[in-house]
Amino acid sequence: MKRILLISFCISTMCLQNSFAQQIAAGEKIYKANCSACHSIGKGKIVGPDLINVTTRRPTQWLNKFIRSSQALVKSGDPVAVKLFNEHNKIPMPDQTLTDVQLKDILAYIKSKSAPIAPAKTTPKPTEANTSTKPSVKTNTNSPTAAKEKIDWVDAEFALKSYPAKQKINAKELNADFWSTIEALKLPVSPQQATYPTLKNPSVEQLTIKSVYLPKEVAFRIEWNDSSKNNEVDVVKFCDQFAVQFPISLNDIPSYMMGNKGGMVHIVHWKAIWQEDCEKGFQDVQVKYPNMWVDVYPGLESYLDRSKRIYAQDIGAELIVETHATGNMPGTYSNNPMSVIKRKEPVEEAVAEGFGTLATQETQQAKAWAEWKEGKWTLCIVVPVNTGNHYKASFTDRTKVAFALWDGGFQNIGGRKHFVPWIDLLLQK
């Protein structure tokens, strides 16, 4: 009898453990989709506070209320909620519509991540985590990433299939025949409201995307509706832009909002003003304002020639850069990557590890080209991957990818943007 009891006890414990693991796995999925952009567990503040040990810091009931509607709690005058809100620059945490079970799952996941040493049994394996109806992604055991089998891969809501390219990918051939054979994915985009400055009103709803790849390149062909082509430089004009983002390492997926400290992302950023530069030459002052007059640009007097009717306003920025007379062009003089006068590609490769940390990469290999026609942008971006450069994405058969989109006509700039959080990029055989 005693033995039977013992056995039954063991079985029930095992069952408990199993359900707990499932709970954590489910929680992780929800957490990564809804919380990880703004919160870390044990890695410090991102936009919101670090959630390590939050389940012991605050009562569960309070946490549930706060997660569902932090603003309702703040408005009710709850002192802790008000304090948190004030401490975090009054950036409201968006309301989460979650079921009681989902809340429990999230808290279980946070609790498991907060534990000093997580028991091995409760750590969810990638396959366990996959509770969705979608087929799980089989990793190629022969690939170099096989050694990193421990990666906590969680399926994203959307998956983009990338197909092997049969030829060299030329970004300028936006309508090359092969693109018509590639399956397209429609992705909804959302306005960025996690950090200041925010985009209050979205103007773009979705984008259509296709992808092909070569061993060291992934190409995307993106289309989105934009009623106006915005490619001019001015104090009140903003340009249309698009960016593709990859995690640099798959071991710990960084925040989809430009990464986080320790979680670096590889960003490839296209701008319509750069497209204009590449198509028609630099948008210089005398190009934009043909009737302008300038008496003199100091240091450039020797280029003036009244007999040939060459006046100060005729001296282009390109000549100034060529003659290294950039002392009166502080951005150019400081080698600011924004101040490049002779641009070769309408795209820039950058790295980031959190808001406001975007930095231009030393090696620029990405290529892009775009066309605006009848209220629609079509853009092709070719991203270098697996180059051995550790500031650039490397992966074998799958990775995450996120997108950002700026509508210049609606004053989108910087954080005032539309975004698509991590989706799966699956390289097809």
């Binding site: 620059n89 002052v285 100091p298």
Partner: protein, 375 residues
């Protein structure tokens, strides 16, 4: 948002970053009563710092005629509109909202200029309020008024530009409180152009990043006052430092003028940035207009200014304006002279309260010629 102390509002206010005072704060005093809008400061600044390609419409320094002038056009009216009607309470406590406290859903409430806002640097120049009626003559009271307002970056203690920059590309120097845009870090988001209530950050369309007044820091570092100050024909300006963490010093011309006598006042203190350029308000302009522009202490400042000749200590501080390119750290009101000293206490300027008068005979025997009556 952190709570910071804004002494110009006599209360705490919200700011995105914690209070952090520089070792000393660059400070300017401008006497609007002496400005003739000759624009020598504007030209000195423009030729020194903003003469390059892409800087055509950038004026770190400008002089505008109030009430109609402004560069960019209507900068102040538009920012005031964004904030809407606000109120000063009793005892000089500001009861209204600052640009950091408004409920616009932005970190900093600001007005974004338009392309044409930069098209007319001289708009409203020398225009007065209203027309002279036929047959009117000057009878000792100005019915119709205008005045010149010289403007530079205020190197604010709580800069709006710095608060709005999502990249932290704008910083306030610890050594002297000068606010700078890192030219290699800025990515031209133009958030600062919108956020600065004084519109003293500018977007350069060639370098595609923003620029602003640098307080002539290479001169400051050598103990000299900025170009706009030393070039001033009317001697309306004085630049030095204040340390508002400490008790005001009677031997500091800035503490004397700004903190002890309160004769020079901040420009639109209600914006909440705690600007560090202080203005002696024009004595002839209607009080309502001046209170909106310089805060509630305007009347006292004007009374004091009118009676300055009887206050030697204050007069001596004003005598130092425009008489040395060196930065004055302390001063003394002597019997007949105002004396200015540098950081280590060496005398650098000595100005008589009354210019000496020399009477010379009409006939110059040495050169065998008649002297003309020119100074």
């Amino acid at each position: 948002m952190a709570k910071v102390k804004n002494w110009q509002l006599n209360r705490e206010m919200e700011y995105p970053y914690e209070e952090k005072k520089p070792k000393k704060q660059i400070t300017y005093v401008f006497d609007t009563n002496k400005c003739i809008a000759c624009q020598t400061c504007t030209v000195a600044c423009k030729t020194t710092w903003a003469a390059g390609k892409g800087e055509e419409t950038i004026f770190f320094n400008n002089v505008e005629t109030k009430p109609y002038g402004g560069y960019p056009q209507k900068w102040d009216v538009n920012t005031l509109k964004e904030l809407n009607e606000q109120e000063w309470g009793k005892g000089g406590v500001y009861k209204g909202k600052t640009i950091f406290e408004s409920e616009s859903g932005e970190r900093v409430t600001g007005w974004r200029p338009e392309e044409r806002s930069y098209a007319f640097p001289n708009i409203g120049e020398d225009e007065v309020l209203g027309n002279m009626e036929k047959g009117a003559f000057f009878n000792g009271i100005h019915d119709i008024w205008m005045f010149y307002l010289a403007r530079i970056c205020n190197h604010c203690s709580y800069p709006g530009c710095l608060a709005a920059c999502p990249r932290k590309a704008i910083y306030k120097r610890e050594e002297d409180g000068i606010v700078l845009i890192d030219q290699s870090r800025c990515r031209g988001y133009k958030e600062c152009v919108k956020a600065c209530p004084y519109k003293k950050t500018f977007f350069n369309m060639v370098t595609r990043v923003s620029e602003k007044c640098i307080g002539c820091y290479p001169l400051i570092e050598q103990g000299e006052q900025p170009r706009c100050v030393t070039s001033c024909i009317g001697k309306i300006r004085l630049q030095g430092f204040m340390e508002d963490a400490k008790e005001p010093r009677r031997d500091s011309p800035f503490d004397m003028i700004v903190r002890i006598k309160k004769i020079a006042l901040p420009l639109y203190p209600q914006f909440g940035t705690q600007p560090n350029v202080y203005y002696v308000p024009p004595v002839h302009v209607p009080k309502d207009f001046l209170i909106q522009m310089f805060g509630p202490n305007v009347e006292d400042a004007i009374t004091l200014y009118r009676n300055m000749k009887d206050d030697k200590e204050l007069l001596a501080a004003f005598m130092l304006f425009g008489n040395t390119p060196r930065i004055i750290h302390s001063y003394k009101a002597e019997e007949n002279h105002a004396v200015g000293y540098n950081e280590i206490g060496d005398e650098i300027v000595r100005v008589p309260y009354v210019e000496p008068v020399h009477n010379r005979p009409h006939w110059d025997a040495q050169f065998q010629t008649f002297r003309h009556n020119t100074p």
